[in-house]
Amino acid sequence: MTAHRLLALADGPLAGAAFGNIIVACLLALAVATFWYCRKNEIWWQALVEVFSRRRFSVLVLSLYVALALADSVSWVGGGGGEADGVLSHEARSLVDRFFSGSTEKSYSSPLAAAEFYDKTPLVRSRGHLLGTNILGQDVLYMTVKGARVALLIGGLTSLIAIPLALFFGMVAGYFGGRVDDLVFFVMSTLASMPSILLLIALIMVLGQSTVSVCVALGVTSWVSFCRLARGETMKIRELDYVVAARALGVSHAAILWRHVLPNLLHLVVISFVLLFSSLVLAEATLSWLGIGVSGSWGQMIAQAKDELSRDPIVWWNVAAAGVAVFVLLLAVNRIGDALRDVLDPRTLGEGR
């Protein structure tokens, strides 16, 4: 039950602003650190440049998403202008919130229309909305932009949970072998043998439904495959001459793991992260359809809008906006992932399936 409380806390008062900001800050710090590391390391830098030159457009698109997510993560209280949206005085609003402030209509309006969709009353915003408004009159562009932060949060937070976990256990198991390896491998087999979608559902139902618990559940179900990879690679690295030599010289295990094993796994981390990311966003969309997703995600937008295609006249802009947003993001991520794999490691990973 303590788990409930903890998750509830994270999703309760903190969830709106502070908690998300912390996560985003962590992710940003991590990205900067990665960048710095690459800058100093020539091989990595070259790889990065290569990927960039191959996938200029995809990188640009991804940067746009990240920028939007960041703009939505920088939030503070006050500054006025929120009364029209029913925002309370103590609530933090992000740059994006402020930009779209006062854009709420009464109900549907189609893209760029000047009047409401059904009863044809004039809109609050006389020039209309670029992507129309949804049933509650919220600007669809606004909702779509806000989804970027959620998507990156899902991918990022889950990766923050899954990758260190996988890396740690994979390295320890692969490096020490023996009993430790047996144990880790057993746990991995156990988790891996539960169908991931069912396990996800079970975890979310038990943990209760919130952004954090969805991420935790996704983390639990997605760390195994990477852990297996890390373990295998570590076993190979362990047998390399200089690692054997370092051991013979009595260098501590921790130092070997940190200095010799970890750097050699980094390319796997990067590639796995990218491959994991798109599968996480897809998984969240599935969960949203089942009604246990993350609020504000594109998956949820799609799920909410799925019946609108049956409206007559048809309301398509909601599902189209969210669909295109998620599609473009995944496309960019997949393309970059492909290039990264080609550049960094054409062999060991095969295809991330």
Binding site: G86, V87, L88, S89, H90, E91, K106, S107, Y118, D119, I135, L136, M205, G208, Q209, S288, G291, I292, G293, S295, Q300, A303, Q304, D307, E308, S310, R311, D312, P313
Partner: protein, 671 residues
């Protein structure tokens, strides 16, 4: 190697063949077998599979669409007349009450001759038998049996000895294992039944109440008091591969259940043993088409006096999502349907059927459902409840004044529903069309004033200096559900109150409700029977959740209200009763334990080939009155479902055009 030589070719060939064969089989969008096209079958969708078909337990609409057709009742509601009137069903007449000494009341039901159960193997292979008075008594005894866990123990405990019988059974069972092994009907006989329900002859049932409770007659128009043959209980015990009684009904109604594959399909077939089809029934009110009223159609007039049922079969298909269900209705594959919110504007124009739909031959039936939706406050809560005194009362009044029902109905129900000023919906005694609840008109200025008087000016809690923080607990985490509840929250936030929507799944919600850890909730109540008592009891102390776990989740406890209720309950519908109801209404108006939201309106679309459909309002068996014209239906279906095939050819062509140049250049290069 030669054997595998043609593997991809074989693969391709098989694939193409399968596609061809498949498209041949799958070339129609009709969900039914073509052979059924000309039969008198009614097609209906159901959204939720029944949980049980045991008439003693079946309480939800999902259960009752089957149970109400399969099990016949002593009394029925007149199909046309409103306000609702009871007419005799299996009974020869609606009994009147007979006062006994020491306040007891007796009703005597006389059974119609020629009543019989549908053929069932529990009566021996292919057997059947007459319905006996003892079967009714057996059914009532089952209600009292704790193992049956009937949800309607409360109203039936007005029967003399009802509760004691249950206790005696339970004690005897735990004391005497041999007894517990006996068939239940024997167990009941050994314990001796109870005084309140006795068979005084083969065709006479006598019901004795410990005190006046006129509403009891309504319960005899529901499946709970339908006759149950003890043979069926013995035969269908769910052991050793035998079905359970809850999934194998044995009744005497107009239909019997011939297919029960509840996760996808259920089929009712006309019961030849139904008394309406027997010569003796003559013009029994429950088995004959009633005389037409003012709203009657020519078809209704033509059918007057005909024997029921008309249909040979009723096919129910599970449709969890209402969009595809409505889509199939528009394709002619369902005969009756509600209107999906998404398609409302196409179907309805200016509260009537659109031209387009009229052209398709459809008709529309509208009725207000005897139900009320409300937002409740937990009166045990220190902030919104009675402990907060006047301040909380004003807060509730303010929040009530800012709930914009009209807009909500427009957005989420296409305006199908009427604003509720009190718990009582139209059609129920005590409903006053002229009554206007001062806190139920949408008035933000008034709401802000009330809030300021309460001490929460601008929504700011003086204690903290922050906006007052309240939690709106909802049991629905679905994406659509969130949107709905967010609507109310948005209005309150405009008052400046920080209302947080806490959407948890149903069981966490239950947990909260049980622990009393909730402040504001939304709920709905659909009447069991058309009597004000069935609504107002929801606010009595006796029913409070915190007291007895009853349905009064608002935990409204008001002694004066309780006193008025007990006076109102036992009265017939006279002026005195009306006055009592008015007094109770004004208590609610002032105290605001509920924000009464609306009484939903039900719009049913009916295909041109279906006749005699009237909205039932209360869940009562109606399918027996329905009729279809299969020939017309087959014609229309064909006309409405011509597939558009050119895109398929276009796609193949485009694919070929894109790929061909590649293949050509490839081979040219290789030369």
């Amino acid at each position: 190697m030669r054997k595998t030589a043609s593997f991809p070719v074989a693969l391709l060939a098989t694939l193409l063949l399968c596609c061809l064969a498949g498209s041949n089989l799958a070339c129609s969008n009709s969900p039914y077998e073509d052979a059924d096209e000309q039969k008198k079958i009614l097609y209906r969708a159901y959204a939720e599979p029944p949980k049980t078909l045991d008439p003693a337990v079946a309480y939800s609409t999902a259960d009752q669409i089957i149970v109400a057709e399969v099990y016949d009742t002593l009394l029925e509601y007149h199909y046309f007349e409103r306000p609702y009137r009871l007419v005799p069903g299996m009974a020869t007449a609606v009994p009147s009450s007979e006062s006994l000494p020491d306040g007891r009341v007796r009703y005597t039901f006389e059974l119609r001759p020629g009543l019989a159960y549908a053929k069932d193997d529990c009566f021996g292979p292919g057997g059947s038998r007459s319905v006996l008075a003892s079967d009714f008594v057996f059914a009532l005894r089952r209600l009292a049996d704790p193992l049956v866990a009937s949800p309607v123990v409360e109203p039936f405990s007005h029967l003399v000895g009802f509760a004691d019988f249950g206790k005696a059974l339970e004690q005897r069972r735990s004391r005497d294992p041999a007894f517990a092994q006996l068939p239940v009907d024997q167990q009941y006989d050994v314990v001796g039944g109870f005084e309140g329900a006795r068979a005084t002859g083969e065709r006479t049932v006598s019901i004795t109440l410990s005190a006046a409770y006129p509403q009891i007659l309504y319960w005899f128009a529901m499946n709970f008091a339908s006759p149950v043959p003890p043979e069926a209980i013995r035969a269908y015990d769910g052991r050793d591969g035998r079905p359970d009684f809850s999934e194998h009904p044995v009744g005497s109604g107009p239909f019997h259940l011939s297919t029960y594959d509840k996760q996808s399909r259920m089929v009712l077939t006309k019961n030849p043993a139904y008394y309406g089809l027997q010569a003796a029934a003559g013009t029994a009110p429950g088995a004959t088409f009633p005389d037409p009223d003012a709203r009657a159609t020519p078809a209704d007039r033509a059918a007057a006096g005909a024997r029921l049922p008309f249909l040979d079969r009723v096919e129910f298909r599970l449709e969890k999502e209402n969009i595809p269900a409505f889509g199939k209705f528009l394709q002619g594959y369902y005969d009756v349907s509600g209107i999906a919110r998404e398609s409302f504007d196409k179907v309805i124009s200016e509260r009537g059927l659109s031209k387009e739909m009229q052209a398709l031959g459809m008709s529309l039936s509208k009725s207000v459902v005897p139900a009320v939706y409300y937002i409740g406050f937990n009166m045990d809560d220190p902030v919104v409840g009675r402990k907060g005194g006047e301040r909380s009362r004003l807060l509730r009044q303010a929040m009530s004044s800012s709930a914009d029902v009209q807009e909500y109905l427009r957005l989420f129900a296409n305006g199908r529903g009427i604003l509720a000023h009190s718990p009582l919906p139209p059609g129920i005694f005590g409903y006053d069309e002229a009554y206007r609840n001062p806190f139920r008109g949408f008035d933000m200025t008034r709401a802000k004033e009330l809030l300021a008087v309460a001490g929460y000016a601008g929504g700011i809690d003086p204690k903290t200096g922050q906006p007052l923080r309240l939690t709106f607990d909802v049991p629905d985490t679905s994406p659509e559900g969130r949107l709905r509840f967010q609507f109310w929250v948005n209005r309150w936030r405009q008052l400046g109150i920080d209302v947080v929507l806490d959407a948890t799944n149903y069981n966490k919600f239950q947990e909260k409700v049980r622990d009393g850890a909730y402040q504001i909730f939304q709920w709905g109540w659909v009447a069991d029977y058309p009597d004000p008592e069935n609504f107002l009891f929801l606010l009595t102390t006796r029913m409070a959740r915190s007291e007895s776990g009853g349905p009064n989740s608002a935990n409204f406890k008001h002694p004066e209200f309780d006193r008025l209720f007990s006076l109102m309950q036992a009265r017939d519908n006279d002026d005195e009763r009306k006055a009592l109801i008015t007094s109770m209404r004004s208590i609610l108006e002032h105290e605001r334990p509920w924000i009464e939201l609306f009484h939903p309106e039900e719009y049913a679309l009916i295909q041109g080939w279906v006749s005699h459909v009237r909205p039932p309002g209360i869940s009562i068996p109606t399918v027996k009155y329905h009729d279809v014209e299969p020939k017309l239906r087959a014609r229309q279906r064909q006309a409405w479902n011509q597939p558009i095939l050119w895109p398929a050819f276009a796609l193949v062509l485009v694919l070929a055009l894109v790929i061909a140049p590649g293949i050509v250049t490839y081979y040219r290069e290789r030369q």
